[in-house]
């Protein structure tokens, strides 16, 4: 069952009816049944793995929490009889046990994720190494199909496991509530990766049907379907054509292909989010937002705070901060500050953390050197900005640049958008050298196309381009308007009968332009992760 199919719409509406008809205390059970059913319909063979993750996390968190409780109880009972050393030893033993449980569970679940996602990458590297010594031998690839959403639910579960280990989140006592947290169907394919406290707060509260939630949720679903089925799916074959044939196209055509890709991936991913957030809104559940007008960012760092927000937050919380504030790193920073100055000393620990974050982010996105390079390039830009901050400030002051002026902000936005566009295509064209060749083509071929056919050789029908430009334009305008308030606040000011007609027209446009495009293209882009 795909999210853009009629059967998914019917699934959601059947769920809504059952969800609100049954008693409120059973609503989370309805969600659990729906999530497991959804998973079974989409990935039957993946069920054992998600159950393993949910079960291992459940027992690990309960065990760690029980050790903490035991420790508290033991100390309270025996405090007068224990010396300081004995108490420290006891605490250390409990801490070691908790750490062992956390690390073992972490390793088990990451091993499953790596087996499915990265086994072929590692086998390729081993083959490469073997070929240096022995040209005839090689290791054949395995053909394992990754369980649906493994990257997303594994990261979400690991986050919860670490939160319980840190003591910032209590362990869930109910196994089935824990299972729902891991398998909640709107998040399973493409996130967002949610915090346990935030998500469980939403999942397990009582939900009341309101007209506002229903209508706003439905509006958002339709908007998401438009983004995915019309904008992303019409652009998909054009982008693929440019990626395949860039070497024979003019530089300006290749550049247009890159721009199309930026629009496509945004429409695809954010479209999915809109469909799922809309679904959740109808269920009176607030899902974490994953996008905040990312193409209006003024720097790469800001872009990554607005694009796939939940993944960025996850990496920040569980990788960046632990490395940045680690004792050895802080010591390194202090020593560096003494020798090289304050700025150097303060920036070095952050730089080390950022290098790790960005290489792992790249690797999370894809098991290939081109994805690792992509992560590295993003990290490089962010690290460079960090180091050059004092220089940039001095330059701006010397040039008397007023940062609040719209011209300067427009320059920053356009510059960031172009940079992000060029970095994005690096791993998508094929190998790393293909990606570099693609970018090189843009900057080395300046032939001017003599006709529309030469400019857009991949275009099969002009009306499709007009449709895409119209709806992408709609997205752009709505993003501009959202600076001040959500677009739906503007939309809901329109009288209800006109609103309904506009939604019906949007639905018909999705039917006429979106269904054919969807039938001829693949699924969601981020579902591959």
């Amino acid at each position: 069952m795909t999210i853009t199919s009629v059967s998914f719409l019917l699934f959601v509406f059947a769920l809504l009816i059952v969800y609100y008809v049954l008693p409120k205390r059973t609503q989370w059970i309805v969600l659990l049944v729906a999530s497991i059913s959804f998973y079974l319909m989409c990935s039957l063979k993946g069920i054992p793995y998600i159950l393993f993750t949910a079960t291992s996390i459940y027992f690990a968190t309960r065990w760690m929490e029980s050790l903490s409780r035991k420790q508290k109880a033991y100390i309270k009972e025996n405090k007068p009889n224990l010396s300081k050393e004995e108490m420290s030893d006891y605490k250390r033993t409990i801490a070691k046990s908790r750490k062992r449980i956390m690390v073992c569970t972490l390793i088990l679940n990451i091993a499953i994720l790596c087996s499915f996602k990265y086994i072929n990458f590692f086998l390729d590297q081993i083959s490469l190494l073997i070929s240096v010594f022995n040209t005839t031998s090689s290791i054949s690839q395995v053909n394992w199909v990754a369980p649906l959403g493994i990257s997303f639910y594994t990261f979400q579960s690991i986050g919860y496991l670490v939160d319980v280990y840190w003591g910032t989140c209590p362990a869930e006592k109910n196994y089935f509530k824990n299972l729902l947290f891991v398998s909640f169907f709107p998040q399973i394919t493409q996130g967002p990766i949610s915090d346990h406290e935030a998500l469980s707060g939403e999942l397990f509260k009582s939900h009341t049907f309101t007209y506002e939630n229903f209508s706003r949720g439905f509006q958002r679903m339709l908007w998401g379907l438009m983004k995915k089925m019309i904008v992303a799916n019409i652009l998909a074959p054009y982008v693929q054509d440019v990626f395949t044939n860039y070497a024979s196209y003019k530089g300006v055509t290749v550049f247009i292909g890159a721009l199309f890709y930026s629009v496509q991936i945004y429409a695809d991913f954010s479209g999915y989010m809109d469909i799922m957030c809309g679904t959740c809104e109808m269920l009176d559940i607030n899902l974490t937002e994953n996008f905040n007008r990312p193409y209006f960012s003024k720097s790469i760092a800001e872009y990554w705070r607005r694009w796939h927000i939940s993944l960025g937050e996850w990496f920040k919380k569980y990788i960046y901060y632990p490395i940045a504030v680690a004792k050895w790193n802080r010591k390194l920073g202090t020593n560096a500050q003494k020798k090289m100055g304050k700025h150097f000393g303060q920036t070095l620990p952050a730089t080390i953390a950022l290098i790790v974050v960005w290489l792992t982010t790249g690797f999370w996105h894809g098991a290939s050197w081109s994805y690792i390079a992509w992560g590295g390039v993003n990290g490089l830009f962010i690290i460079f900005s960090l180091w050059m901050e004092p220089v940039f400030e001095k330059s701006k002051a010397a040039l008397r640049i007023n940062e609040s002026k719209w011209l300067w902000r427009a320059f920053q936005t356009i510059r960031t958008f172009l940079l992000v566009t060029l970095i994005k295509v690096l791993p998508e064209v094929g190998t790393l050298s293909d990606g570099l060749g693609f970018i090189k083509r843009i900057f080395t071929n300046f032939e001017i196309p003599k006709s529309l056919g030469e400019l857009l050789p991949f275009l099969d029908a002009t009306h499709k381009l007009i449709v895409v430009i119209f709806f992408a334009g709609l997205l752009f305008v709505s993003s501009l308007l959202q600076r001040k308030k959500p677009i739906r606040d503007y939309f809901n000011k329109i009288p209800a009968p006109i609103r309904i007609v506009l939604l019906a027209v949007l639905f018909v446009c999705i039917v006429i332009f979106g269904i054919p495009a969807t039938k001829l293209t693949g699924g969601f882009m981020y579902a591959q992760f």
Partner: protein, 338 residues
């Protein structure tokens, strides 16, 4: 309760709006006959007069000129063909016309492409949409959809029909010229489809023709059985492909033998105009075809008398085997590219 009532009212209003817009576009598509291939009222006017039906897909639609056939065969013929028409679509339209006309001959055009095409695949949905537009009533369309279009393609059928209705509404509003049918025949412009000298050896036998799908053979059998029940003479034909296409494809003899055997087993005549000995005299790659597969106006004007003459001889009991090569391998020896 108030929230629920409001939501229900809004949902119903939304569905009514969607139904209204759908009704407009689908109504235009199904009823307006602005579509290039929509001939419902033409056929209705001729009901009771047609005694010769030629039915196929686009190959047939561009090949058979009823006016020419009528004068040679002394009949009132109709070209029932349609673009991308699936075999089950041909069956439905043939049944419909046989029921309301004194039909004594049905010529079923089948191509090598038709035999290997998966008619439950997404590519066939467009052909099904055209058939839907040529049916008379809502119930007929519903029955056709339920019987022949896979459930997984219903949304795509709805989408294509809406798109066609939208395009046709635009044509009506802008008063755009429509493609005129001549009792079902559509004329095509001509194009030189010759193979350049330097590509001749490279392109020889470069595309394989696959064996027919069993579902397609079963559907053809249903048409044969229906015609026999109605005492209607059924003849299956292959219309001629260009020399360039025949040069490129291979595996045709395997398919042709298989299909010939099927026709013999079912006591049905098969005439393959690809193997016509005089084809090199009547058709050429310079102006007889529009794209290698479809006859141009010049090609159809040359083909129709040859076809009609051959059918006439065949129906009077003359032995026409001498007019044809026995197989593709023999025919290829005389190809201008050899």
């Amino acid at each position: 309760m108030h929230n629920f009532k409001k939501a229900l009212l809004s949902s119903i209003s939304f569905l009514v709006c969607v139904a209204f817009i759908s009704g407009v576009f689908l109504g235009v598509f199904f009823r307006s006959e602005v579509a290039p291939y929509d001939d419902t009222s033409t056929r209705a006017k001729l009901a009771g007069e047609i005694d010769f039906i030629f039915c196929g897909a686009s190959h047939g639609q561009s090949a058979f000129v009823p006016d020419i056939a009528d004068s040679i065969l002394d009949c009132t013929s109709y070209n029932l063909s349609g673009a991308m028409m699936p075999i089950h679509g041909r069956k439905v339209l043939i049944e419909k016309e046989v029921e309301r006309n004194p039909v004594d001959t049905v010529v079923l055009e089948i191509s090598l492409e038709t035999l290997e095409r998966d008619e439950s695949g997404i590519d066939s949905v467009e052909g099904d949409a055209y058939v839907l537009s040529r049916l008379d009533s809502f119930s007929e369309r519903l029955q056709y959809t339920a019987s022949y279009i896979p459930k997984k393609h219903w949304d795509y059928t709805y989408s294509i029909s809406m798109l066609f209705g939208f395009s046709q509404l635009k044509s009506i509003i802008t008063n755009a010229a429509r493609i005129e049918l001549d009792r079902g025949y559509v004329s095509h412009g001509s194009k030189d489809v010759s193979i350049p000298d330097e590509m001749i050896s490279e392109l020889h036998n470069s595309e394989r023709i696959r064996m027919p799908l069993e579902e397609n053979i079963n559907e053809i059998k249903q048409i044969i059985d229906f015609c026999k029940e109605q005492n209607v003479d059924i003849i299956i034909v292959f219309t001629p492909l260009s020399d360039s296409v025949l040069w490129k494809i291979y595996g045709e003899d395997e398919v042709y033998s298989y299909f010939k055997e099927f026709c013999e087993d079912n006591n049905c005549s098969l005439i393959n105009f690809d193997l016509l000995k005089s084809r090199f005299e009547h058709f050429n790659d310079t102006n007889s075809f529009s794209d290698g597969y479809h006859l141009s106006k010049e090609g159809a004007t040359a083909f129709s008398p040859v076809f009609s003459d051959t059918i006439s001889k065949f129906q009077t009991g003359e032995d026409i085997s001498g007019l044809f090569y026995s197989n593709y391998a023999e025919m290829e020896q005389y190809s201008p590219y050899n």
